[in-house]
């Protein structure tokens, strides 16, 4: 009787797999979904993730791909070469560095809490995480390869064969399966265990300085760096020094809207301690330098964000306020996240 039950499950699974074009329907009973509870105050999962739920082996496969240097043309760099865990999956270069030391357009963004984001990259050019991995793979200043070149290189790797079978039901390596797996891994990178979080849960207390910093933050920063993600995910031109690379136009290069010229997504402040330098192309070496700049006055622009425009193109900050703000921002560091 037990055998019959097993058989019927197998038949059912086969039936489902055969009738659906969506590879996600394949379910190995030994490849469970990873439990990713939504941390307190966080938004719901984005809708693409709901269709590409991270599984045990899916995320494992994604991590293997993420750290595989064969994704680059000369096998010299992997995703993890720029997205370094100790730096909250960013790095310390002003602009990203690809194969042969090629310098890219922008600062490497940290990879954290992507499960809750609506768009990706500084300009929001991608609306689904699954559409992103192809970009660094083919970009000349990054990995400069192609997806078929990658598949050819990894196709004889037994480890991949085993994992692709566990995740998708057979050993076939397709571009879509690679993109989905990398996204699944990235979705699991959730940072919500900082001192700030523990203070919110009444498990710890701010120091006096941190507490003052939080007060300044709620007065002068929170309108953009809002919510548990510390970003409202909007795009704004806040008059930072302009990247003179002729390919740069901020979000306007995506939308074609002049109002988006040199606008970038409000960055999350979580783990900001680990992601220096700051700005879309690393304009500021330290948080202090960045706050000094905001206090001294930012560049005028037609589409300068109204928060700055209404305040004489600056956010006035005393030295004491800056010190306190930096202390507060350091409470957003999640040590377990960068060393798990």
């Amino acid at each position: 009787m037990i055998k019959i039950k097993k058989l019927s499950i197998l038949v059912l699974v086969l039936f489902l797999a055969a009738c659906s074009e969506d590879e996600n329907v394949y379910m190995d009973l030994d490849n469970p979904e990873i439990e990713l509870p939504i941390p307190s105050g966080f938004l719901a999962w984005n809708s693409a993730a709901l269709k590409n739920r991270p599984t045990k082996y899916g995320a494992e496969l994604g991590e293997k791909l993420f750290t595989d240097k064969r994704l680059s043309k000369d096998n010299s760099i992997s995703c993890a070469s720029c997205h370094i865990q100790a730096s909250a999956f960013a790095d310390h270069n002003p602009k990203a560095v690809g194969i042969e030391g090629r310098i890219g357009l922008r600062n490497t963004p940290p990879i954290q809490n992507l499960l809750f984001m609506k768009s990706y990259n500084w300009d929001g050019s991608k609306l689904q995480l699954e559409n992103q991995p192809i970009v660094p793979i083919i970009t000349h200043e990054e990995m400069n390869s192609s997806i078929l070149e990658v598949i050819e290189k990894i196709s004889s790797d037994i480890g991949y064969k085993v994992l692709f079978k566990k995740v998708f039901g057979d050993e076939t390596i397709t571009p879509e399966r690679i993109y989905k797996s990398i996204a699944q891994y990235e979705y699991t990178l959730i940072s919500a265990d900082s001192k700030y979080d523990r203070v919110k849960q009444d498990k710890e207390k701010f120091t006096i300085l941190e507490s003052y910093g939080y007060e300044v933050f709620t007065q002068k920063c929170i309108s953009c760096h809002s919510g548990a993600l510390f970003t409202d995910q909007s795009f704004r031109n806040i008059g930072f020094p302009v990247n003179i690379d002729t390919n740069e136009a901020g979000r306007a290069r995506v939308t074609g809207n002049l109002a988006d010229y040199m606008s970038f997504r409000v960055p999350s402040l979580r783990n900001i301690e680990y992601t220096a330098p700051y700005g879309s192309f690393g304009q500021f070496a330290s948080l202090k330098e960045l706050l000094d700049y905001m206090n001294n006055g930012v560049l005028e622009a037609e589409n300068l964000d109204s928060f700055f425009k209404d305040n004489g193109n600056r956010i006035p900050l005393s030295e004491a306020e800056k010190e306190a703000l930096v202390a507060f921002m350091l409470t957003l560091s999640d040590k377990n996240f960068i060393s798990r």
Partner: protein, 288 residues
Amino acid sequence: MKNFKKYLLVSVASLALVSCSSDDSSPAANNVILEFNNTFKDKTIVLGDATSASASVNTSAEGQVHQFSELKYVISNIRLIKNDGREIPYNVNDLDHGATVIDQAKESTLSYVLNNIPAGEYKQIKFGLGVRSDLNTLNQVKFPVFYANAGANDTEMMWEWGTGYRFTKIEGFYEADKKQMSIHSGSTVENGEDGKETQGVDAYRDITLDLPNNAVVGSSSPRIVIKADFDQLLSGKSNTIKLSTGTGMNDNATPNIHTALQMVKFVDNLGGNGTSDVSGMFSILSVK
């Protein structure tokens, strides 16, 4: 029973053969050759670097002299329209067999041969400048040939960050001090999951051109010569553009025209605005 099947097969096969052949000697299909003549007004463009003495120099409506060192664009989605109005699509969903990169530096790319076009008289041609949104995904598995061609180092017709193809790539110089001009176009359309939250600009343009005399396909394979007048890049039907160099939001001479509002002005000049202008810079020189 077996025999019956055999007979049936034979008779169906012979019927099929009969219906495919016609009595006269003219073939049922033949080639159509598209020839692209890239010009400044009536003169074919000669490319050259900043110091070139032979490079064609053009003057825009705004009085800006300019010259090109590189000139490429993608043609796809080709359709020939018969006299009776019937549209004959040419591999319109297959970039490997229905799309091409026209490169002024490569003579062989200036002619594109359409194979196996059904015999008949054709009065009109339609094609796309660029790649339709639904095919513009850099799908290397589906279209390895076009992908390789567009991605080649001496072609550079890929827009990696937008995961799509470049539709036009023009490099050159303007004004007496030979400032760089670098005008690229491509689509930035991005769909969210379920096709929601669409963002970006579609730079694909559908071109319709009436033929001055019918192209007769049959025993002959006609040659349609298409003029692409790049004088219209800056002095077009849609926009009169003055180039300016810099990183301001209105500067447009270098690729920050990807602030697609600037880009769209060039795109509309080259490929029409899709409504009142469906020819852009293109016209038919001759049908032979």
